[in-house]
Symmetry: C2
Subunit: 347 residues, 2 copies
């Protein structure tokens, strides 16, 4: 039987970058080819057709030369970007996956993949929701919101909760989890459209556009006259300085990310940290990779909420792999409204 070899469109990182990523830092090529049959005598491989790609802020650090502050290894210049995605299995020599399965996990930004490192792949069990949800609410960002809010924040009913980057993939879920838990929730975002979403769609008690606030401290005092019990930190920088000033005794800060810092050569120093002492504040970072063993428990919690319409989830989808670079860089200027997804193909 003749091998089926096809062209395989890919998004390649040209070289390590500094500062804000630009569209020209990546190139979309059709130079590569891929054989759509598994090599013989080589077990443990999964051949996929890739459907949806996830654009996540953490990916920025992999686009630079690794530093001690990196989550993960750098991408390899000249090779495809790697990120979370949803795929259909075309063929498999791995016992956990078979032809026709749907999976989510780390995949190259390309149309088809021959996956050797299958450690991140999870078989999708529930297909009565949009498959793209596995890049977000049912994937890494969903688990991040779940672990971050329920475990790291140690919430109590009635707590006052502030979420930054609140309309993003993680923030929108944290805010809704907090409301369901009986907290007072305020979110910040970077446009009026996002603020409206937070208040009208996600049910935040209040929301504000941080770009329109001359004085973030005053803004926070307006919405939290008695202070903040829980801060879900996605942005870092100036917002963190001002939030610290508004934290209450025994407050908790879950440090999920600091998107304002990712494109700086040197991170801004955080002032006001002494307030951790005088107000007995716990500030705790976390990476979701350490918590994936809780995924099935998470699904048990989240699936009924989705089916009963008790939780809302907004995606911002671009069509086509050729538009993936623009979608990714848009995260850092806030052009996306909701979770940024790339649809490679609708099967």
């Amino acid at each position: 039987m003749a091998e089926v070899v096809v062209r395989n469109k890919q998004v390649i990182l040209k070289d390590y970058i500094n500062g804000y990523p630009k569209e020209s830092d990546m190139v979309v090529t059709s130079d590569a080819t891929i054989c759509l049959e598994l090599p013989e005598n080589d077990g443990g491989l999964v051949l996929t057709k890739n459907l949806y790609l996830s654009c996540d802020p953490y990916m920025r650090s992999r686009m630079s030369r690794a530093t001690e502050a990196s989550y993960l290894d750098s991408f390899t210049p000249g090779s495809p970007i790697l990120g979370y995605g949803v795929s259909r299995v075309l063929d498999s020599s791995h016992p956990n996956f078979k032809k026709g399965d749907l999976i989510w996990g780390l995949i190259n930004w390309e149309e088809y993949s021959l996956i050797k490192d299958t450690s991140s792949l999870i078989k999708i069990q529930h297909t009565d929701v949009p498959l793209s949800y596995y890049t977000g609410i049912l994937g890494m960002p969903g688990m991040t919101a779940y672990v971050g809010f329920y475990e790291i924040c140690s919430p109590k009913k009635g707590d006052t909760v502030f979420v930054s980057a609140a309309s993003g993939a993680v923030g929108q879920l944290v805010g809704q989890f907090a409301k369901l838990f009986g907290c007072y929730v305020v979110g910040s975002a970077g446009s009026q459209e996002k603020v409206d979403l937070l208040k009208n769609k996600f049910g935040f008690d209040e929301a504000f556009n941080y770009k329109e606030e001359q004085d973030l401290n005053a803004a926070l005092k307006r919405y939290f006259p008695n202070g903040i019990d829980i801060y879900f930190e996605n942005v870092g920088g100036k917002m963190l300085h001002e939030v610290l000033r508004n934290m209450r005794l025994n407050g908790r800060i879950a440090v999920c990310g600091m998107i304002s810092q990712y494109n700086l050569d040197q991170s801004e120093g955080t002032r006001n940290l002494f307030l951790l002492v005088t107000r007995s504040i716990r500030m705790e970072g976390f990476v979701v990779f350490q918590h994936y063993h809780k995924y099935s428990k998470f699904l048990e919690m989240i699936m009924p909420l989705i089916h009963e319409g008790k939780i809302t989830y907004i995606e911002d989808t671009v069509e086509g792999l050729e538009n993936a670079p623009v979608a990714l860089i848009g995260l850092f200027t806030g052009t996306n409204v909701g979770k940024q997804v790339v649809a490679i193909t609708h099967e």
Copy 2:
């Protein structure tokens, strides 16, 4: 019967201060007088002869106009400094205290006190140790080390522990608690004499003089080639930046104080905070005042250790109330070796 009125030497804060405290910011006067008999018909008062005073870094913030980062209210200019001390009860109309009792708690820096707010006073039960210990190992700093290490640090046997300001009242105890717990312990201090104490007297595995290190990151890597599990933070500033770079996954930072920042108009920004995320670090501040209900449990732990010689405690004592200002300001340049105590009188 004629009232017994005596002169009462006091240490007065002249005015709110900025920057490093100077001897001239305080004045020792004998202008005041005190009646050594309790007023009649006025219950709940305790009249004391004051024996030992404690010099503690946290007192610095009370010498300035209160800010949002303050632990406690400011001192009142023109009035005596207030701090922890040990006193003998000369007379009492409070049911918990009687003539002859020894107490520790918050007392004015003066020879005799008529104490109306008795809420901080604790009756001393064990007198088979130096009474001055109740300003330190058996008082607020001891409780601070106890709560900070055993609760906030969540230690595990074999953890690598770094303590800054390690020869101070709190640091010397944290290091010894950590050694008793089965940890590897390194301390930093500001002189060779202190470094020798840490290694030879307190049993730290290693110690270094931070003033002689050109590169704190390199120094930390020398003593922690595989990173730090627990950092007991007493100093803040540059040390914290560099420690963050050397923390291990799931590390814990107990933020007890930041003495390097107390005399600055604006605190230094802390860089490298994003490492909290990528290494899942918990950074937790605490104030001991919230934990005093554990004091009797603490005594049960610490008294046998003292009696069996399993714990060592070093004090740096100056004689006489007139030397209290110099003793207090010396904390901020590190002139004290061990816990700084002022002995007003040896009964």
